[in-house]
């Protein structure tokens, strides 16, 4: 265990401790300052438990395994085999070898299968981490996305299949169904709205909130003590919408992600972030 990891664990323990109760009498200014201090603290890579995922992801990326006993280091995420810098901000995108638009998680599964001969059946049964069990996908995504820190979200929308996925993603965003009659737009198509006290970013058009939102996933969720990817965020949205659980790494979720990334074009990637 390196110093970085140890520090992250220590601060994780601090983070998970119950926050000091804020006096209701405290002025808004004092609360705001306290929240800013908290944000600064958790924005520090040495204090962000999401960097534990980054470390594990780095190991996973370079570990030889699968039927062919090779690592993922020759996996092409769109920028060339093994090239990680700036790859994340250009996903989802079209891959000629698969003749499909893929997000990072779909592409990693493709590389596991085609490059490593790795059987992902077990992994796909539980793609998200839970208490006491890591998720290789969360680790790999944290590691790879982190390689694009400080870089821009640059949607690749030129191939006919990218154009189709973008249009499908937009349609899905506005598509109402289910026992609550919700679509994504029910909550995310107007500025300044809240669910309870949770502020909702508008994501239906290009804008700073869309850029900030998409530039900050994957993120360490303090409430879940886990680093989550966009796949998990959408799965959780559909849970709250009372929809069936969407299929992990499905083309529908990738289309929706492409639509969201398109509205976040030009945003800066800074991950793993920390959220509630």
């Amino acid at each position: 265990m390196n110093v970085h990891t140890l520090l992250a664990i220590l601060v994780a323990a601090l983070l998970l401790a119950p926050p000091a109760a804020l006096s209701q009498a405290a002025s808004d200014d004092a609360s705001e300052r306290e929240i800013e201090r908290y944000r600064a603290m958790i924005g520090d890579p040495m204090a962000n438990p999401g960097y534990l995922n980054v470390d594990r992801g780095e190991t996973l990326w370079s570990t030889a395994r699968g039927g062919r006993n090779v690592s993922l280091e020759r996996c092409d995420l769109g920028e060339g085999p093994g090239k990680l810098e700036a790859a994340y901000g250009k996903l989802p995108r079209y891959f000629a070898d698969a003749d499909r638009v893929m997000d990072l998680e779909q592409r990693l599964l493709w590389c596991m299968d085609k490059l490593q001969g790795f059987d992902a059946t077990e992994l796909l049964k539980r793609p998200f981490s839970s208490t006491g069990r890591f998720s290789e996908m969360e680790d790999l995504v944290a590691f790879i996305a982190n390689k694009s820190n400080g870089m821009k979200i640059q949607p690749q929308i030129a191939h006919p299949k990218e154009l189709e996925a973008l249009a499908a993603g937009e349609a899905i965003f506005f598509r109402r169904s289910g026992t609550m009659d919700f679509s994504c737009a029910t909550c995310h198509a107007e500025d300044g709205k809240r669910i309870r006290l949770q502020v909702l970013p508008p994501l239906h058009e290009p804008g700073q909130q869309a850029r900030d939102t998409m530039g900050s996933w994957p993120t360490y969720r303090v409430s879940q003590s886990a680093t989550r990817t966009m796949q998990h965020r959408l799965w959780d949205c559909y849970r709250q919408m009372r929809m069936p659980a969407p299929d992990y790494a499905s083309d529908g979720l990738t289309a929706l992600t492409l639509y969201l990334m398109n509205n976040a074009a030009g945003g800066t990637i800074q991950v793993p972030s920390i959220k509630r």
Partner: protein
């Protein structure tokens, strides 16, 4: 022909720049194939949450702003689904209604089967002035009954809105709680009581 090259270069530059592109048109069948890829394996009894009914389809098509004739059709159709209590009593127990308004449980794929559904009214509406944790997706409902002089006709209108919001306003954002059997008749009565009972915190 050579004169087209700068234009092609410009198009390419635009395509690859870090600017959002407008999404193009797509036929509904293709959209549904993407929807199916995400939800095609929905467990038994959940498929109908993916299929759109006519109102959901039309509201999606017009992004919740249907032209007047379509809006009229929706309201007329949804009105026929509203079932009023056989005993004629629309106002139940406001204390039970408060619990329903506060509860966001039920109906999620992570819920144990048989979990009683809440109405989760506070997710979107301000209700009791004493509750500070309220959402703003819907209009505030503070002093709802008092502001309507506890008029029984208004209580009936509120019952209708909770049972089926689209029977009042086409493509309302509010779920059709009675239509979808999310809330029972008794629960809707209790929510109406939370709005209309003079003793309810909503009216304090």
């Amino acid at each position: 022909m050579w004169s087209l090259i700068p234009i092609a270069a410009l198009v390419l530059m635009f395509a690859l720049s870090a600017a959002a592109q407008p999404a193009g048109k797509i036929d509904p069948a293709t959209v549904e194939s993407y929807v199916k890829s995400a939800f095609g394996k929905a467990k038994d009894g959940w498929e109908n949450r993916v299929q759109q009914d006519e109102t959901q389809r039309v509201c999606t098509q017009y992004r919740n702003e249907p032209p007047a004739p379509e809006a009229d059709k929706i309201v007329a159709r949804e009105k026929t689904t509203v079932i009023f209590p056989a005993d004629g009593k629309l106002i139940g127990d406001w204390k039970a209604g408060q619990r329903i308004a506060q509860s966001g449980r039920g109906g999620q794929f992570s819920d144990p089967p048989g979990t009683a559904s809440g109405g989760n009214c506070y997710a979107c509406h301000q209700m009791s002035p004493a509750e500070l944790s309220f959402g703003t997706l819907g209009p505030p409902l503070v002093h709802y009954g008092r502001a309507r002089k506890f008029d029984p006709d208004e209580a009936k209108a509120a019952y209708t809105r909770v049972f089926n919001s689209n029977a009042v306003l086409a493509c309302s954002n509010m779920p059709r709680f009675g239509y979808h059997n999310v809330l029972t008749e008794q629960q809707i009565k209790d929510v109406v009581a939370y709005l209309f009972d003079p003793a309810s915190p909503v009216n304090q």
